[in-house]
């Protein structure tokens, strides 16, 4: 590890980098607006926006779950300072995805939304992933961290089942069309990020120069 962690970044250095990351994370929104102004949201803008927000939620989830492995393998613990922001972006794109479904697919009608949830497993699984994520977003503040204490960590570890549910949700959507390439790609990345947490670091460090 020594070669990789020549000089750990300070909190200030990461703090300088954070606004840039924030703007990068807004790229999907900027892109949607740009496409919207140019009439390029495809012939079916609602479908495009629902799918696009879902995909970007997965991307943000991958980035969020990459923080811990990166901290370990790069030897940069200060990267922790980006994790909450990335997690909130995951929630942000997931929430837009759900709102898109609620508005464009179900006309914001609660009974119609409920019907969809109970009739369609992939919707139910998506909602199942969304509920704990909402709780995580609400409790992401410093105040809630101290109020919840150890239970905060338990609640926020729900991100692992959320990741699995998200890929399952995506898989069920593509199952009907037998079109799994993207599902496998995101599943593989998330799987690796979860596995990376299980590998003991000491065992690996010996093999590195």
């Amino acid at each position: 590890m020594a070669a990789l962690q020549a000089r750990p970044w300070t909190a200030r250095q990461v703090g300088f980098f954070k606004p840039l990351l924030f703007i990068v994370c807004l790229y999907p929104v900027i892109r949607w607006l740009w496409l919207g102004f140019h009439g390029a949201l495809t012939a079916n803008p609602p479908e495009f926006l629902i799918r696009s927000s879902g995909i970007w939620a997965l991307v943000a989830l991958c980035l969020t779950l990459a923080v811990t492995p990166l901290r370990r393998y790069l030897g940069q613990p200060a990267l922790l300072r980006c994790r909450r922001m990335l997690g909130l972006f995951t929630f942000f794109y997931s929430a837009l995805h759900v709102l898109g479904w609620a508005y464009w697919e179900r006309g914001l009608s609660p009974p119609a939304m409920w019907d969809d949830i109970v009739q369609r497993p992939f919707i139910a699984i998506g909602v199942l992933a969304m509920v704990p994520m909402l709780a995580q977003a609400v409790t992401s503040t410093r105040g809630w961290m101290s109020r919840l204490g150890a239970r905060w960590h338990t609640l926020h570890r729900a991100i692992y089942p959320i990741a699995i549910l998200s890929v399952w949700h995506f898989w069920l959507i593509r199952a009907g069309k037998n079109d799994f390439a993207e599902v496998y790609a995101y599943g593989a990345v998330l799987g690796l990020l979860l596995l990376a947490r299980l590998v003991p670091l000491e065992g690996r460090s010996g093999s590195r120069p």
Binding site: N44, I173, K177
Partner: protein
């Protein structure tokens, strides 16, 4: 864009009489009081559509593709824009993205083009595109298209009744179904590399469905030859069924005794039935079919109610008398 030579055809070879007769009986069946008006409209359409004998000038080509709209098959719905009709397509041979068919379609080779007619027919054989174009006069018909994915369009197709071709090849008494096979051109169709569907794409209709006056053999759209994305150089359009039932870029038409195993039934029989009639009461396992999004209506336009048989119930519901359409979806 495919350049289609316009055949020089004596009016006598156009054999519209069958079409007329079919329409007359259909008008009677559907009880349209405006039958006389409809026949007048057909007359006008034919006069424009029939190419003059002798010349294959570009001007004549213009006439062919500018066939008059048949007033019996017009709709008050606003047409979906030509851009949306030709750039938002499901044609998985070109890729699963809606823009893929328009993006890759240019590479499709449509000249020469032949359609082989096989199976339970007295006159099997191979037709080239010119044979087919001269078989009956083209007319414009405005049809709703309802995709199984719950979006819809309103499209001005150019074609003639599929029945005209079917009569020409004389199906035997054993012909119960008609199967349509879509072309496979690996060099033009990157989607063929995926295993989503067991290529080639195969769709089929029951004989009475294929013979129905609404079933159209389509050669053009928006007054032009079909672009590849819409199924160049010829496809079918069966407006009361979900879009996937209407095969594109057809190279083979086979008449069978048994119900063919169609492509989407092979992929997911619990999701896609043989009949696939538009039915707001039978949801797809992954979404409701009760409403649809009209393409081009605007980002914040509300969804529209889906109509039984896509609004063509009056004309086609009788084909399914006595059938449980919840089971035979």
């Amino acid at each position: 864009m495919a350049k289609v030579r316009i055949p020089a055809v004596p009016a006598s070879q156009i054999t519209p009489e069958e079409v007329w007769r079919e329409r007359r009986s259909w008008l009677k069946r559907s009880g349209l009081a405006a039958a006389g008006l409809g026949l007048m409209g057909l007359g006008a359409g034919r006069a424009v559509a029939a190419p003059a004998a002798g010349g294959v000038e570009p001007a004549e080509a213009g006439k062919l593709w500018n066939a008059a709209r048949n007033p019996d098959f017009d709709l008050s719905d606003a047409l979906t824009s030509e851009r949306d009709v030709t750039t938002y397509n499901n044609y998985y041979e070109f890729g699963t993205g809606k823009a893929d068919p328009a993006r890759h379609g240019g590479a499709l080779k449509t000249e020469p083009w032949t359609v082989s007619v096989e199976g339970e027919v007295a006159r099997p054989g191979t037709f080239d595109l010119d044979d087919l174009l001269r078989l009956a006069p083209l007319e414009e018909r405005v049809y709703r298209l309802r995709c199984v994915e719950a979006w819809s369009m309103v499209i001005p197709w150019l074609g003639y009744p599929l029945a005209s071709l079917i009569r020409k090849v004389e199906p035997t008494g054993d012909a119960k179904f008609v199967e349509f096979t879509t072309v496979t051109q690996p060099e033009a169709m990157p989607g063929l590399r995926s295993r989503i569907i067991d290529w080639p794409y195969v769709e089929a209709l029951r004989m009475d469905e294929a013979m129905h006056p609404l079933s159209l053999l389509v050669f053009g759209v928006y007054g032009k030859p079909l672009p590849s994305a819409n199924g160049a150089p010829l496809r079918v359009a069966v407006p009361w069924k979900y879009g996937f039932k209407s095969g594109k870029s057809i190279v083979k038409i086979r008449f069978t005794r048994e119900q063919p195993l169609t492509s989407w039934m092979k992929v997911a029989p619990q999701e896609y039935g043989f009949y696939a009639n538009v039915n707001p009461d039978v949801p797809h396992p992954r979404w409701s079919q009760a409403t649809e999004r009209r393409i081009g209506a605007g980002v914040f336009a509300p969804r529209e109610k889906t109509l039984p048989f896509n609004g063509y119930a009056e004309q086609v519901a009788s084909l399914y008398k006595g059938m449980d359409l919840r089971r035979d979806f």
